[in-house]
Structure formats: C-alpha cells, structure tokens
Symmetry: C2
Subunit: 250 residues, 2 copies
C-alpha cells in the first residue's frame, strides 16, 4: 500500500468547491475521476481544506492510498493530461501511510485579493473582489491587529446548523499590501472556521471605507454574534496559498 500526497492548483470559478457532490462539478470530483481512469479503482481523496464554491488554490494538498505501483512521474503526467485546464497537480510525493493531509496540517496561508480601481479589469474578472471605492490600508492593518491571537471567532463564521464546532481559533499573522491597483490580504492560521477569512476581509474592507473604526473590530469579535459582522467577501478573491505540515513558521 502507498500513500500519495498531491499538491494541487485550481481556478475555482467553474466548481462547486473542493468537496465531492453528487451531480455537480467539484475539484476533488475531477481529480477522483482522472485517478479512476488511470488506476482503474475508486480512491478516497482527503483534501487539507474544503474550499468553498468559487474559491481558488495555489497550494491545496490532498492524499489518497493505492496498491497500484504506477511511478509518480507517469501518474502526474497522466493526471494532468486528463484534468481540465483549470485544475493541475503540481507535485506528487510518497508519504508515510499514517499521513493525513487534513488532520496533519499544522497551518494554512490564505490570500485574499481586492481589485481597487474605479473600473473593473478584464484580467481580474472572477479572480479578485472588484471594489471601486477608496480603501485606507493603514486603517485596515490597524483593525487586523485585533484579530491576531487566540479568539472565539463566532462573529466571523458561517452560522452553523450543528452547534458542535468549537469557535476558538488562532490567527497567527495578517499582512496587508497594496501592489498597483490590487490589495493583497494574507492570513496565516492553524485552522479556520467556515467563511472565516471572507468575513474577516469584509470587516476589514468596512474599516478601509471608513464605515467602521479599527476598534469596532474588537467589539464585533467580543460580541460573539454572527449578526454583528458584515456579510462575507465574495469567493472570487480567495486563494488557498499553502498548507504547512512540519514547516509552519508560527
């Protein structure tokens, strides 16, 4: 038995997220279909992050087990030949049998891209949040400092049907950088609640617009109530950049 770890890039626009769904195109669904064609068997593909519909990845990690002896080089070529242009496997590594891409992840880096110009860009369509009004990135950075550390992120998560999810999470670092017309918000954390990065970004944007004060973010966080935070930022701007295992810097 071999355990194979895949690093995957995808443009999420045309998919209903990572996780397999019946009768809907998903990223994991496409990879499983390609693996089935090559290996002539059903595999269970575990992804480090269950990215939502429309979310992109430049460094998703997944793993599956197989008895088949196909060389990694042949498998990666075969997979990329079968996969559509918007999903590619960039690396395949053989890992110990007990490696689980989801459970063993020590941290993740997400990037959120905001395209901040009065007129949208043809090159940014579905690849960033088009936001036409001025944003004060210094105020956004000030506001972001309240989110760093171990907190109850109930205000920054999807309202959950199951009450079982522990809302305590640790955000290790947030970096905000303006590059030309694009504002890049990078967030590092051990794990995230569903929608957490997108609600955080929507909140920081409200601060950037001047509709909230940086200190309001502290109050929203302490309120532990999803109704208090702004609506979530669009999926188009979110990228899973990297999943860390032994190499997480925080």
């Amino acid at each position: 038995m071999r355990n194979l770890k895949l690093t995957v890039e995808y443009l999420g626009t045309n998919y209903y997220g990572w996780q397999v769904l019946p009768d809907k195109p998903t990223v994991a669904g496409e990879i499983i279909k390609a693996l089935r064609t090559i290996l002539k068997e059903e595999v269970k593909l575990v992804g480090a992050s269950r990215t939502d519909a429309g979310v992109h990845a430049r460094g998703q990690v997944a793993n599956f087990k197989t008895e088949k002896e196909i060389p990694k080089e042949r498998l990666i070529r075969g997979l990329n030949g079968l996969l559509p242009p918007d999903i590619k496997v960039t690396k395949i590594e053989e890992v110990p049998l007990d490696f689980d891409s989801r459970r063993n992840a020590k941290g993740k880096e997400y990037l959120y891209r905001i395209f901040n110009r009065s007129i949208p860009s043809p090159f940014e369509y579905r690849r960033s949040w088009f936001f036409p009004f001025p944003l004060n990135t210094e105020k956004m950075a000030e506001a972001s400092s309240f989110l760093i550390g171990v907190h109850d992120f109930t205000s920054f998560s999807k309202k959950d049907r199951s009450k079982e999810v522990n809302p305590i999470r640790e955000v290790n670092e947030i970096k905000i950088e303006k590059i030309g017309n694009t504002i890049e918000i990078r967030v590092w954390g051990r794990s995230f609640l569903r929608h957490m990065v997108r609600v955080m970004v929507a909140t920081l944007v409200k601060v950037g617009e001047g509709k909230l004060k940086p200190e309001d973010v502290k109050e929203i966080l302490e309120g532990r109530n999803r109704e208090r935070a702004p609506f979530l930022a669009p999926a188009d701007g979110l990228y899973l950049e990297k999943v860390f295992y032994e190499d997480y810097p925080y």
Copy 2:
C-alpha cells in the same frame, strides 16, 4: 462635432481580434454595439492596432466622432455597464478633430508572456504561452539585439497576399525578464508587420532552447524569407501594452 479617444483593456480569448467582422464577435464590434445603444447612432471606431484573434490588450487606443453631447463620465459608465466582463474602457478623453488613433501613433509597446514550468498553471491558461522546456534567457537577449534597429522584417511577417506592404520596420528596444516562472518579452517599435512580434518571439524561444544560435537570427533576418523563421508563437501570450502619441520615448 467631438472626437473621443478611448483607452481599452481586453482579454482577447473570446474574440476574433479587434477588427469588426460579419457574424463573429470582435472587440471593436462589442464596443460599437454598446456605443450604438447609448448614442443611438452608428459610429466609425478606429483602433490604433488591429490585434489578431486571441491577442489581449492592456492599453489599446481607439477613437470615434459624434455630434452627441453626452458627458464623458456618463459615457464611460454606460459603456462599461453594457460591455462584457472581458472588455473595459478605462479612459475617455476629448481630442482635436484631426486626431486619428491609428495614423497618429508614434510607437507601440507589446508584451509577450511565456509560462515556463514543466506543468501548466490554471491561472495562466490562455494568458501566456505554456512552454515546458528550459530556456536560456541570456542567449535570448543576445539574439534579440540583432532585431533592434531598422530592418527588412520580411522573414518575421505573415506571408502577404498583397505585395504592397513595406517590410521595413524599426524596432527600438527589446527587454527580456524572468519573473518567477514567467518570461516577459517587451518590444517597442514605431509600427509592426502582421504577426511580427509573434514570429520574433518564436525565434527567440528557439534560441532559448538551443535549437538556434543567437547569430542565426541575424542570418534569418538577412534572408528576407518567411520560410526561414520558425512558426509564430501563440496569440495567448501577446498583450498590446501601450500606444504612444507625443510621449514615445524613442
């Protein structure tokens, strides 16, 4: 009568080039359709460059004349509201009546993007030339020096049915830069023959691969024979970056 100058960005993937064609989507065709809806009149739209099918632009310039008194601000908002996401007008200026975006252009900057990694990128699909083999950019730069200056570019043009086109052109500058996995080739010239940049790029890539020597480019140029140069590089990688009028630096 007013003469309006438009600056236009487009992702060319879904269009049969700039120039209007019957029954085919073209970039100028889409802009004329939007102008017709707003102005309730037929306009003649002159573009600085007749970009080919699949070629992109970050700074195409076009102009048209109208008697209508619509303010520029309202026109740009109206146009961008009607235009598809892959075509946007970024600027409208009123210019003297004798301004012609094509005839008055003093120079143009084209960018050609090569994605140079063993595995294609979902984010680069149709936005660059995917080239999986190693390229020596120093040799490419050396080869490019032979193309600079005033030359007969017959070897680097589309074989023309009409013999009337003057094959003498001036290339002012070529810069080759490696940024991550992308090789950017920028070319400045007063005007270009049809396919000229793409044949030049294909030739430089042959040098980068080691299949041609830098000096061979001089020989191909002097041969004045289209059969001697390699086939043209794909349209996907080509961007019209800027059209210069009084501000051309060469």
